[in-house]
Symmetry: C2
C-alpha cells in the first residue's frame, strides 16, 4: 500500500521545483532503472507483485510492493511496466577551465522539447561526449519525459545547468566554440578541433543573439543537391548528431 505522502512525493517529482528542492528524480521501466542504478542511488523502488515475480529488484534504500491499481496513481506511462524508481541526483562536480578545455562538450541554448533533450543526451553518449552544459531556459534533464527519452544515457553523460552566456564568456578565448548556421563553413571540409564546445540552439529560433556572439566557428551542414534552398532546416537533435559524428570521425 502506498501512503498518501509517498504518492504526493512521487507525483511532486514531475515538477522541476520539487526535483531541485529534494535533489531527486523518477524513472520507470526495468531496463532504464537498471541502467541508471549504475550511477544514481535508488531511494525508493515501487514495484507490482507481477513485476517482482519475474524480475530481481536493484539495490534500494526502500522497496514497496503495490498492486497495479495503486501503481497507476504514480505512473506517467500509458502502459506501465510496474516498476518506478526514485533516484537521488548525483552531485554536480564543477569542472575547471582546463578540464572543459581538454574535451569536446555540448552547450544547449534553450532546447525546450523534452524529446529533443533526451535524444541529444543519447547522441552525446553514443559519441563519447561526457558533459552537456544546458542553459537555465532549457528543458530539465531530470524531467520524467527527458529521463525516459534518454534511455539510460543519463547515467553516462553529465548534464549541468548553467548561465550559458557567463559560462561561455571565459571559454571564448581559450577554445573553439562551434555553432551550426545556414551560412557557415562546410563541416565536411573545414578543420575541426578535437576539443571545444558545440552550441545547439532553440528549436524555433536557433542560437540566440547573445550566444551567437560567443560562437567562434560557424559550421554549415551541407544539404543535397548542393545549393538546394527549399529545405530550410533540420531538427536540432538531427543537427547535433551530424555535427558530433563528424567531429568524432576526424579522430580516427
Amino acid at each position: 500500500m502506498l501512503s498518501k505522502n509517498k504518492i504526493k512525493l512521487i507525483n511532486s517529482l514531475n515538477l522541476k521545483k520539487f526535483r531541485d528542492e529534494t535533489n531527486m528524480f523518477i524513472a520507470e521501466g526495468t531496463k532504464l532503472i537498471n541502467d541508471l542504478s549504475v550511477t544514481f542511488h535508488c531511494e525508493l523502488l515501487v514495484v507490482t507483485p507481477e513485476w517482482l515475480e519475474n524480475n530481481t529488484p536493484i539495490r534500494t534504500k526502500e522497496l514497496l510492493e503495490v498492486n497495479f491499481e495503486e501503481f497507476k496513481k504514480i505512473s506517467n506511462q500509458k502502459n506501465p511496466q510496474g516498476i518506478l524508481a526514485v533516484f537521488g541526483k548525483a552531485t554536480d562536480i564543477a569542472l575547471s577551465l582546463e578540464e572543459i578545455g581538454s574535451e569536446l562538450s555540448l552547450a544547449l541554448d534553450e532546447i525546450q522539447d523534452p524529446g529533443n533533450m533526451g535524444t541529444i543526451i543519447r547522441i552525446a553518449d553514443w559519441f563519447g561526449i561526457k558533459h552537456i552544459f544546458a542553459s537555465q531556459t532549457s528543458a530539465d534533464a531530470f524531467a520524467p519525459k527527458v529521463v525516459q527519452a534518454s534511455m539510460g544515457a543519463l547515467a553516462r553523460v553529465q548534464v549541468q545547468e548553467v548561465d550559458l552566456e557567463n559560462f561561455l564568456l571565459p571559454l571564448k578565448d581559450k577554445l573553439p566554440i562551434y555553432g551550426t548556421f545556414l551560412k557557415g563553413e562546410n563541416i565536411y571540409t573545414t578543420p575541426l578541433s578535437s576539443n571545444g564546445i558545440i552550441v545547439l540552439g532553440n528549436e524555433g529560433n536557433g542560437i540566440s543573439p547573445a550566444i551567437e556572439k560567443l560562437v567562434t566557428e560557424r559550421l554549415f551542414i551541407p544539404n543535397y543537391p548542393p545549393g538546394n534552398t527549399t529545405s530550410e532546416s533540420l531538427n536540432v537533435s538531427v543537427a547535433a548528431a551530424l555535427v558530433c559524428a563528424e567531429f568524432r570521425r576526424r579522430l580516427k
Copy 2:
C-alpha cells in the same frame, strides 16, 4: 461562424479512417500552410479576424472567418495561430521499378512515433530524397502531429503507404537495400551506391525479421570511442540522418 458539420468534418480528420475516406488532411500555422499550398489544394481555410488583419490568405476553395473562441474548437495547438487549412491529398503516382531503381529512397518499417515520422520527412527533404515508402504499420504521414513536425517538407517528399515486404521483394535483386545494425559494415568505409533503398526500423524493435531478410547491405554507424559498448542505440531519426548524410556526401 462554424457550422456543426464543419467542426465535425475538421475534427474527424484527426483520425486516419476519415483522412483515408475523404482524401483530406489538416494543417495549422501560417508558414506551414503556405509551404504546403505549393503542392496541395486547399479545400477550406479557417482564419480568425486577428489573423486576417495581418496576413493574406492562400488561394482556397472556401474561406471561413471565425472568432478565436470558435477557432479553438478545431485547433490541435496549445497556442493556435488562428489559421487552419483542410488540404486535399495529392494522388499517389505509382512508380515503376525503373524509377525506384534510379533513385535513393527510404523505406519505413513500422515507425510509430509521429514526431520521428515528421523528422524523417524533413531529413529526406534536406537530403533531396523524393520518395518514402512506409509500411501500413507506420504512423500516417498525414496525421496532424506528423504534418506539423514535417514543417512543410511533406510538400516536397512523397510518402506512400505500402505492404513493405511485398514492395521490397521484387526490388531485392535489382538494387541494394540498406539497413543499419549494431553488427554491420562501417558506413564510413564501405562502398555505397548512389541509388537504392534505406530501410529504417521500429523505435523499440528495429527492423523486423521479415524485412531484415530482404536487406542486402548491413551498415553500422560507428560510435566513439571505437568499441564503446555502453551506448546502445541511436534514435531512428538520428540514424536516418547520419545514413542519408553519408550517402549524399559520397556524390560530391
